[in-house]
């Protein structure tokens, strides 16, 4: 006898509770005053013994209840040899429908072979396997239902994960309470193996039968990756690089055979360019398409290998490129703060993605802020402009606040309202200058290049960050760059300035990439989700604070979100290859290209010995005796019997307790009435 979950036996400790109630509490009898004990005698009363005896019975029942409850959770089992021919097992039929199963007629073959093993009158369950186990039926004896479920399996775009499948098989005997005979129909590709072989182990009650659906010499061409800019601005032309791969199982000592393949670039379904490349067996080849004209807006790009291929779905690679005019940036500054350095940095950016308007606060009050990708506020402001900026940020806009020395007098950061404790000036006598000490390089606004190396800061306003995230600090601990989230938007506060007075940052080479990074982040274009893999998450909103609906149209042209998901979901998993047209909660429209994981393109099968090892982790035909040998005993869960016993004990305890305790409660209590003095 054993336990499936022995750690629940720790619950037996709770048996101490009734023991305490019966043995310790019993002696804590509530004293009842009586006029005189003159006529009572001190001796053990037989009735007390009798009553205690009854209580011991109650105690025993309560202890039994707790023990049975702990036992129930521990799920005891006994090993019993299966009766030959009794058919007491679960046949689990799993069909791999990952992306690689699109190769030739692999999936159809797998389904055909799976149909052949559906038992005529035995308990069986069907499932489709990819990166997760998708159960298609409950354990049933209905052959027609099982066959229908297997026939309904459609090819998927997800990767396969044998570790996930094995994990499921480890839990299946416990959940079903039966030994399992598992049939797995898959191409058994090597790339789906987990890093550790231990992850493949199945439970000892599982008889694993692996049905390989693959070719001896699979050959496959694939577009492995495409590098393309997510966005281009103005009149610039796109430069697209693609990596083509030739997966072949042929291992030859001679010089690898080279295959010539034609590769076509399609923009919005129309061929834009075509090139021919030679790809060696198991080799890679780079293709570059230069000076590609892109129409304005979101463009659907595709790099395709021409020619027949058993796995044609990986001969193409989707990508999206958005062409737009340079985004407008508004720089609000007073007469003391010059935008010259910032403008120069923006203009020097590699992509020239931004154009800057510089306005004074008075001019900016009546400006429609929604036209701008983000706003830079240099100095202080208040009143109507501050209100407009708050609305702008709450609606999803980005704001960069640059605090100059004048801000210290006001004592608060505009828009966010954070307190400014003091202005920290580096003195000539003391530290002379501060340098950036702690920089959060993982933040999208700060990459490694912008670590402020060698930058001298002579002034910084000491801002109380409260709940905000400090992205960079000076050597004395003064926050340098603080991020604050408001509604759907974000605010970055630079506690120093963009002039050449409070620091020498504008004179450093890193200033330009720093401004470029900041600009991308504040504009919201840093999400990097224009290209995703199947299984990746499409970000719909940053927080659940606002109920603005998101909208997603999937590759099949259908809306992918329910009403509830549209109003509240933060992300949506991408499950198919193709283009997802996304409108996020902040109103931003994105075209996201989703491609299958190219590890699926490598059809190299698992070595035979590994397959044998995997098969050996489970039982070896436990339910089917061979040559008259005694079959290995299989565990049989006893939880049902324990549950029945528990219910019976609970019923008796309830009846007994009802007989004892109310009588005690109804005892008349003599009242002692003492008159108030």
């Amino acid at each position: 006898m054993g336990f499936f979950a022995p750690w629940f036996l720790a619950g037996i400790v709770a048996a101490g509770l009734p023991l305490w109630i019966h043995l310790l509490r019993q002696h804590k009898n509530t004293p009842r005053p009586f006029a005189s004990l003159m006529f009572f005698e001190r001796r053990t009363q037989s009735s007390i013994k009798h009553r205690r005896l009854k209580h011991y019975l109650l105690l025993a029942l309560r202890l039994a209840m707790i023990l049975l409850l702990a036992l129930l959770f521990a799920n005891p089992f006994i090993r019993r040899a299966p009766v030959p021919g009794s058919g007491k097992k679960l046949v689990f039929i799993a069909v791999d429908h990952s992306f690689s199963m699109r190769y030739g007629d692999h999936l159809e073959r797998a389904k055909r072979e799976a149909l052949a093993v559906v038992p005529p009158n035995e308990l069986a369950q069907a499932a489709a396997i990819s990166d997760r186990v998708e159960l298609l039926t409950q354990p049933v004896r209905d052959r027609a239902a099982l066959e229908a479920a297997i026939r309904s399996i459609a090819p998927g775009d997800a990767t396969s994960s044998y570790a996930e499948f094995a994990r499921f098989l480890r839990a299946l005997p416990k959940n079903s309470g039966l030994p399992v005979e598992a049939h797995f129909f898959s191409d058994l590709q090597k790339s789906a193996m987990p890093a550790s072989f231990a992850d493949l182990a199945v439970a000892p009650q599982v008889t694993l039968q692996l049905h390989a659906i693959n070719e001896n010499t699979p050959s496959n061409f694939a577009v492995q990756s495409v590098t393309a800019p997510a966005r281009i601005f103005g009149n610039r032309k796109a430069r697209i690089q693609a990596t083509l791969a030739n997966f072949s199982a042929e291992q030859s000592s001679a010089a690898p055979a080279t295959t010539s393949r034609s590769c076509t670039l399609l923009i919005n379904g129309k061929p834009a360019d075509s090139k021919t490349v030679n790809i060696a067996a198991n080799g890679r080849a780079e293709v570059e398409f230069n000076d590609i004209e892109m129409p304005y807006g979101a463009n659907r790009g595709e790099v395709r290998i021409d020619g027949a291929d058993p796995l044609k779905e990986d001969n193409r690679y989707f990508f999206s490129i958005e062409r737009a005019d340079p985004a407008k940036v508004l720089y609000i500054h007073d007469s003391r703060q010059s935008p010259a350095y910032f403008r120069a940095a923006l203009d020097a950016g590699a992509e020239s993605a931004f154009e800057m308007d510089a306005l004074t606060p008075d001019q900016a009050v009546n400006t429609n802020l929604s036209r701008y990708a983000y706003v830079v506020l240099s100095g202080q402001t208040s009143g109507a402009l501050e209100t407009n900026l708050q609305k702008y940020v709450n609606g999803g806009g980005g704001l960069l606040i640059v605090l100059g020395p004048a801000s210290t007098a006001v004592g608060r950061v505009p828009v966010t309202g954070a307190r400014i404790l003091e202005g920290r000036y580096s003195t000539r006598e003391g530290d002379r200058y501060q340098s950036a000490a702690a920089v959060d390089s993982t933040h999208p606004a700060l990459d490694r290049a912008a670590a402020f190396d060698g930058v001298k800061f002579f002034y910084a306003a000491k801002v109380e960050p409260a709940q905000d995230r400090v992205l960079a600090k000076l050597s004395d601990g003064t926050p340098l760059l603080v991020e604050h989230h408001m509604g759907e938007g974000r605010v970055l506060t630079l506690t120093s300035g963009f002039d050449n007075v409070t620091n020498d940052l504008p004179l450093h080479a890193l200033f330009v990439p720093f401004v470029e990074r900041l600009s991308r982040y504040l504009e919201g274009g840093e999400t990097g989700q224009s290209n995703l893999r199947v299984g990746g998450a499409i970000e719909l909103r940053k927080s659940k604070e606002r109920g603005a609906a998101a909208d997603v149209v999937g590759p099949d042209g259908q809306r992918a979100l329910s009403l509830k998901e549209a109003a509240s979901a933060l992300t949506l998993p991408a499950t198919q290859e193709g283009f997802y047209d996304v409108r996020t909660a902040s109103g931003r429209r994105e075209l996201i290209a989703v491609n299958a994981d190219r590890r699926e393109s490598d059809l190299t099968p698992i070595p035979a010995e590994t397959i044998a090892l995997w098969r050996g982790t489970g039982a070896t035909n436990a339910a089917q005796p061979v040559n008259g040998e005694q079959p290995e005993p299989v565990p049989e869960s006893l939880w049902k019997y324990v549950l029945v016993a528990l219910l019976a004990v609970a019923a008796v305890e309830s009846w007994l307790a009802d007989r004892f305790t109310p009588a005690a409660r109804e005892e008349p209590k003599p009242e002692v009435r003492r008159q108030a003095a």
Binding site: N29, S36, F39, F40, Q45, P668, E671, V672, R674
Partner: protein
């Protein structure tokens, strides 16, 4: 009548705060129940005629008899003056016991107050002794104006306290009760019957008439227990676990024997004994008592 009887219920009396009103309610209701019989009471009573002998006070000569018979006869009474009625109220801790709204001390208070009120109505001299293991309060018997109020005040003040010990207070009492009269003892008599009665005997020998009112709660007579309970003696604070079996059999036998013993000992000593349960209407106790006394007259 119905209204009056309702007021004689101890639990109803317990709701009346003013003790004098309680006593008045009891006695008046009870008197109306007796149809105002002229024979009740324990005031100065005619006893006999005696031949005049030289030296006798001429004020006691019955001149009517002399006119009819030409012989001098003296008219003799039971008491030379009004009778002294002294109520001894036990205020030991055990008297605080109650299984219903009226505790034993409350019942004893009402009883004492009613007797004092009755005494006052008869123009007799009422007195009060409150005791536990010693004399806690003493109001000398008197028929002066305001005496009833003094006594009622003392009764009201009597709070259950300490243990019962008859010997010590009764020894002191003999010093105060110089004149013969009626002594009414109200207690739960948690002591040996012989010892209780022996304590009273000196009073009896001095010519006092002694009446014992044994006040007990129904729960003391017939304790109802359905499960073992830990009883704590209210006087000694000793604790003892008691089983329902014992309480239903042996205890009842013992308390019955105690009552019987007390009654027997009292009869032997010429002391009247009345057992009253605190659940009974108050006038029942008084009626029984007066009937007995009337029969003795």
């Amino acid at each position: 009548m119905g209204t009056t009887q309702r007021f004689l219920n101890p639990s109803v009396l317990a709701g009346i705060a003013h003790l004098e009103l309680v006593a008045k309610t009891v006695v008046d209701g009870f008197i109306s129940g007796l149809h105002r019989s002229p024979d009740f009471g324990f005031s100065q009573e005619f006893a006999e005629y005696r031949m005049y002998s030289p030296g006798d006070d001429l004020r006691h000569v019955d001149w009517n008899v002399y006119a009819r018979t030409d012989r001098c006869y003296l008219k003799r009474y039971l008491g030379e003056t009004n009778t002294h009625v002294t109520v001894l109220l036990d205020a030991s801790a055990s008297m605080a016991f109650a299984s219903h709204p009226t505790s034993k001390i409350d019942y004893a208070r009402y009883l004492a107050a009613s007797l004092e009120y009755l005494t006052h109505q008869q123009r007799d001299a009422g007195g009060l002794v409150v005791f536990d293991d010693e004399i806690r309060d003493f109001v000398r018997p008197s028929s002066r104006q305001g005496q009833l109020q003094r006594i009622l005040h003392a009764i009201e003040k009597a709070e259950p306290h300490a243990r019962t010990d008859f010997a010590k207070p009764f020894l002191h009492l003999q010093q105060f009760l110089s004149r013969r009269g009626l002594v009414v003892v109200i207690s739960d008599f948690y002591d040996e019957p012989a010892r209780v009665v022996n304590t009273m005997l000196p009073l009896r020998y001095r010519g006092n008439e002694v009446i014992l009112f044994h006040v007990l709660d129904p729960e003391e007579l017939r304790p109802k227990l359905k499960a073992p309970a830990l009883f704590v003696d209210m006087e000694t604070e000793d604790a003892m676990e008691v089983s329902p079996d014992y309480a239903q059999r042996e205890y009842r036998d013992k308390i019955d024997a105690h009552i019987k013993g007390l009654r027997t000992e009292a009869e032997k000593a010429g002391i009247d004994y009345f057992m009253v349960e605190t659940s009974r209407p108050l006038d029942e106790a008084l009626r029984e008592y007066l009937m007995v006394r009337q029969g003795r007259m």
